[in-house]
Symmetry: C2
Subunit: 413 residues, 2 copies
Amino acid sequence: MISSLSCDIMKNVKYCKCVRCGKEYAAVPDITTCECGGILDVIYDYEYIKTKLNRDVLAKRDEPTMWRYRELLPIEEDTAPAGLRVGMSPMYEAPNIAADLGIARLYIKDDGINPTSSLKDRASAMAVTKAIEAGIACSSTGNAASSLAGNAAKAGLKTYIFVPARAPKGKIAQLMMFGANLTAVDGSYEETFELSKAAIDKYGWYNRNAAINPYLSEGKKTVAHEICEQLGFEAPDFVAVSVGDGCTVAGVYKGLYDMYMVGLINKIPRIISVQAEGCCPINTAVMTGEEWQPQEENTYADSIAVGVPRNPDKAINAIKDSNGICVNVSDDEIREAQKYLAKNAGVFGEPAGVTATAGLMKLSREGKLDKGATIVSIVTGNGLKDIDSAIKSAGEPVHCKNDLAQFERLFFS
Amino acid sequence: MISSLSCDIMKNVKYCKCVRCGKEYAAVPDITTCECGGILDVIYDYEYIKTKLNRDVLAKRDEPTMWRYRELLPIEEDTAPAGLRVGMSPMYEAPNIAADLGIARLYIKDDGINPTSSLKDRASAMAVTKAIEAGIACSSTGNAASSLAGNAAKAGLKTYIFVPARAPKGKIAQLMMFGANLTAVDGSYEETFELSKAAIDKYGWYNRNAAINPYLSEGKKTVAHEICEQLGFEAPDFVAVSVGDGCTVAGVYKGLYDMYMVGLINKIPRIISVQAEGCCPINTAVMTGEEWQPQEENTYADSIAVGVPRNPDKAINAIKDSNGICVNVSDDEIREAQKYLAKNAGVFGEPAGVTATAGLMKLSREGKLDKGATIVSIVTGNGLKDIDSAIKSAGEPVHCKNDLAQFERLFFS
């Protein structure tokens, strides 16, 4: 059965497989979910990939982007990657924060340094690349939207975008500027998703929802490839990631799994899954061992305010398979982490972007972090995306006239 | 005289020289302006640098940051560069825009992809590196402030920052988050500068104002080094840059001059200096041939709203020495360029960030661009820094309920 499915043009990909029922599908560009409703995973031929990809090949490769790991991506050999420069974001060691947390080493992977200022660019670049293969327009829901709009603008693709009306102004500004056909949906993320799906079904647009389109987690996983390479292929003990829809954590795990399967790292790090207390259906499912249940979206961290996650299966598997840890944090803890990380690491993340670090701070306070641990915390988006929240957290500046005496009274008395 | 000035620890630097009276000074870390009030330029030993830096060396160098051009920078050989990953921003070819403008090739250098989302990070990284050499706290005025705050936070340096109270909220949010000691000055950029200088004089902080501190343009110039390397050392015909204080255009010219002097390019591109009509003292001086005169600050492009430029000499020399072109654009033309560039190149710049491109669009409309020209347009900052302006320009999204019929009426009827 597999041989009839295998994709002649993607030698590195075997097929897509439903994570729920196990049914296999040929990896065509516009595939979405399984007929059982389950989401698909892309299955690679790691033995083949091992013959093409190793440390020496990577060391000689002059490609400082996510496409550096092309052998591990579901694209055709002659497909030109979408145009914006996505990936190979900086990773900083933060010894001062590691000391505060009581661990051996902490690295901050700043994925806010991407063309549209979030990790979502990795999935959008993949979506645009696959949409060009399929030759159709693109649609997206939610917070990945501004990223799709930018990457599609560069590629000259038309986009239809749906966001919950609550989306922060920075993302709206990006969307309007990138010339997306933008609809602000008066309703929850769930309702936004439904309207998007109805329109996609009717008009046949390419679906950039990372939970429905199995290729998009494959874009996101490149952040984990980079982490491994940036650590000299020494796997960290833990990778902390903020979790909303579940696609990012699933992608991170998949990237680590890839690197392990092709022999580039010798263990798979444990995932630390961090959600907001006010919206934590995935962590709740892992912690209770029960089926996930919809929750309210009670957090100001808009990118992870997902009460009905669309990728629960892959996310829950990722956390469990890595022997992961779940931790939920309050909005106040997220605000505290945002200021702490900016002040101590020079990295200004959006609320959802710093939620992973908030989780580490909480685990540290509770004495649950191993002293010898090496941890990577992923910052998934830039703080400039949500300025109003940032100013609310950090406060307003002191005002002063051009008067040194007044200045001195304000600061030094 | 030169030998007694030459810096034993910086073999590549001869001395600093006043651009007005020609007086020479030893290149110590905390040098500022000449006793005549003129600003200093760092003079290199290009013959020495030629023996250390060439295409082969660069091709083998695994350093995708501004410190890649270390031989051309005024830092000691054993100085570790400041911590955030600054530079090697992407440069995109934009054939669709080149066709619109009627030129052969256009490249967009997106310097909004830097740790704090602007080109200013290049100067701030230099400032922090030199401040660490000098071992003191750092101060800054104006729009470079958020950049200094981020770079200093990473390095653990304390900062005192002064911004005009009109600074857009994105920059304020960054400053507060990075934990700067921030003063919003109720007054113009000029008054802000004066208060900053008074406080620096009193407290002996390291001065990060790029017009007073001669090293900072040396950081900014790395954008030009990268442009040359990214074009395979084929110099473009023109480099378009938005101009406010004058430090960026001076830095761009210096970087091109460096590359020419060490033999890495065979001509110096002509500078296209673009200012806002409502605040264009430098262009006015070049166009009239007279001394520059202070002007009002009548533009919404806050980063270049500088009525009293602090680096007029170097800026005016840069434009003249490159046989440059001056063009002034209205705020409406800047707004148009912002939307055009985002929609057609996938690059969302702040108003001052897209002003160079606005200048190209105007020159094109006036039939003043050469059909065979290759032009690089520098985008100096990310649009997320000034979201309110962006939304004002681009408009608000269409609102819709979760109702496909309503959606269709809105978009397809």
